[in-house]
């Protein structure tokens, strides 16, 4: 039996929170598995106070992965032990709130949420945070939900040393 509206929202919420947990718990392969192979992961850059870029093919993004392979690149690098910026992997904590679901069809739905990610950097003995908004296109396959597109709008976009898939 198909999920009703409340169950669907529950399932979407569960997916978003699971995604946050996979990152904070460094279950990188589990994180990738939540996405479709042709999923996009897109953190647009800002051009002005209220001017957010919107075309990753013509404009520069903070991060743009046009498919899951490009997301895998980032995971590969984290696991590689070859990056000094990741030599002491920061501890992160994602707070994902204000989750709402819309545009429900038999095959897809949209979800939005606010986020704040705390990043504790060992070298600096200090933490910084990025905050902003997530916009998801989720795919429905039976009762299963997967991520088709994720857009991350970072509101505080002056980056202290590093922004990567683990701290936004």
């Amino acid at each position: 039996m198909a999920l009703d509206a409340a169950q669907l929202k529950e399932a979407a919420t569960e997916l978003l929170l699971e995604e946050a947990d996979t990152i904070d718990q460094r279950r990188w392969d589990d994180w990738l598995a939540l996405f479709e192979e042709d999923a996009t992961y897109y953190a647009p850059a800002w051009e002005g106070d209220d001017d957010l870029t919107s075309d990753p093919h013509q404009e520069i993004s903070l991060i743009f992965c046009g498919n899951r392979e490009r997301m895998w690149d980032r995971v590969w690098r984290i696991k590689s032990n070859l990056s000094s910026s990741l030599a002491r992997m920061p501890r992160t904590c994602h707070l994902v709130t204000n989750i709402r679901v819309s545009d429900v069809s038999n095959s897809a739905l949209k979800a939005t949420a606010n986020f704040r990610t705390e990043t504790f950097k060992h070298e600096e003995k200090d933490s910084t945070a990025f905050f902003g908004r997530y916009l998801y296109d989720l795919k429905r396959t039976g009762d299963q939900l997967t991520i088709q597109n994720k857009k991350i709008i970072v509101y505080n976009d002056i980056i202290p040393r590093q922004m990567d898939i683990f701290n936004i």
């Binding site: 953190a43 013509q58 404009e59 590969w76 990056s83 000094s84 202290p160 922004m163 990567d164």
Partner: protein, 449 residues
Amino acid sequence: MQPEDLNWRIKDEPGETFRVHRSIYTDEEIFELEMSHIYEGGWIYIDHETHLQKENDYITTFIGRQPVIIVRGKGDDYRGYINACSHRGAKVCRQASGNAKNFVCPYHGWVYNSSGKLLDIKDKDRGGFPEGYLDRDYDLVPVPHVQAHHGFIFASLNPNSPPLLEHLGESARFIEMFANESKDGLEVLRGRSTYTHRGNWKMQAENGVDGYHVDVVHASYFRLAAERAKLAAAAKGEDGVKAIQVNLTDTDNGNYDLGNGHVMIWTDIPNYRDRALGMQYDTLEERVGKLEAKWMAGRLRQVLIYPNLILFDGISTQLRSWNPIAVDKTEVYAVCVAPKGEPEEARERRIRQYEDFYGASGIATPDDLTEFDACQDGYNGRLAEWHDFDRGMGRLHLGADKFAEEVGITPVSSASDFADEALYHGEYRHWLETLTKGIQAEQETAHGA
């Protein structure tokens, strides 16, 4: 601080050693001198004309610590003002950018036109101002020099600065080369990145022309690129990024001390046809000729325009500039710059290669920033006082080598190895000379007063 308090910190013994005392990265007093005499005492890079296209377009920014408004006038005429109301000093313009014929100070409503001229004072008739008040000069204080060269806008707060082209010297050749990559010039793409790090600004100026660190610091980047290409080949698919390779053993490469603090590194790129400009190599060659095409598309060039801009043209194309915030904090502004009117496929390639490597959200730049911060921490080890820039000193060539002659520049010195560190001698000789002259000028002013 007296010139003799600075001199000993640079040990310049040609042919023997070139050492810098690490206090130059940590000393607050030296930082103040740098701000006064380098950032507020000479030409610095402001922005690219992409962000100031029409008459009365403006941006607000800083020259050193001083807030300024930079305005485009008619044609290529640029001007600038200290962004402080003549009345009580509030910033007159609060927006980052825009287009305005007039600026109205939000505090007490004084009005200036875009030439900085005071147009109106609130209550001028019933304000009880003393006689002749309105005849005084209350225009915004102008920035003495604002000038663009091929779309690159520079400014100086020092009325006695030499002409811009004299300051740019041999580096102008590479600004012009970059600008000529399209017959229509360059444009900065939308999408900006600003990042900070906990290191002294001079490490920004060093690292962009540091060929020695590349394979070590960016090991994860180059290994990943190789891994990606391998996987794509195995799946008979397309490598979506085609990352640019750096190979120093089988290529021509080197570096130059261009004078006035400007320095650069260059190397031939093995897979240059994977570059956005390389995809159009034959057309380019037809338009600009063999030599120019080779330098534009076939060679990586990273040119420091002292003190605050690096032109990156290799891995992708970036304009990176910065402003020192404190002796141990630097804010960096990074944008992608591209030839106007390039084919869609090339533009996409350029963008993907850019994001892959550059910016604090890329997969290479954070490793650089981590090294700057680690150096800043290391410099606090005051017992370890010195480091040298001696790599390549044994083969340093004074004047032009054959590649410099070919491209038509006369550098102070040439090095045949991209990774040689002797180019920093030029940076730090200029640094010492600028600060010394600055201190002397301060003293003359004090004695004259």
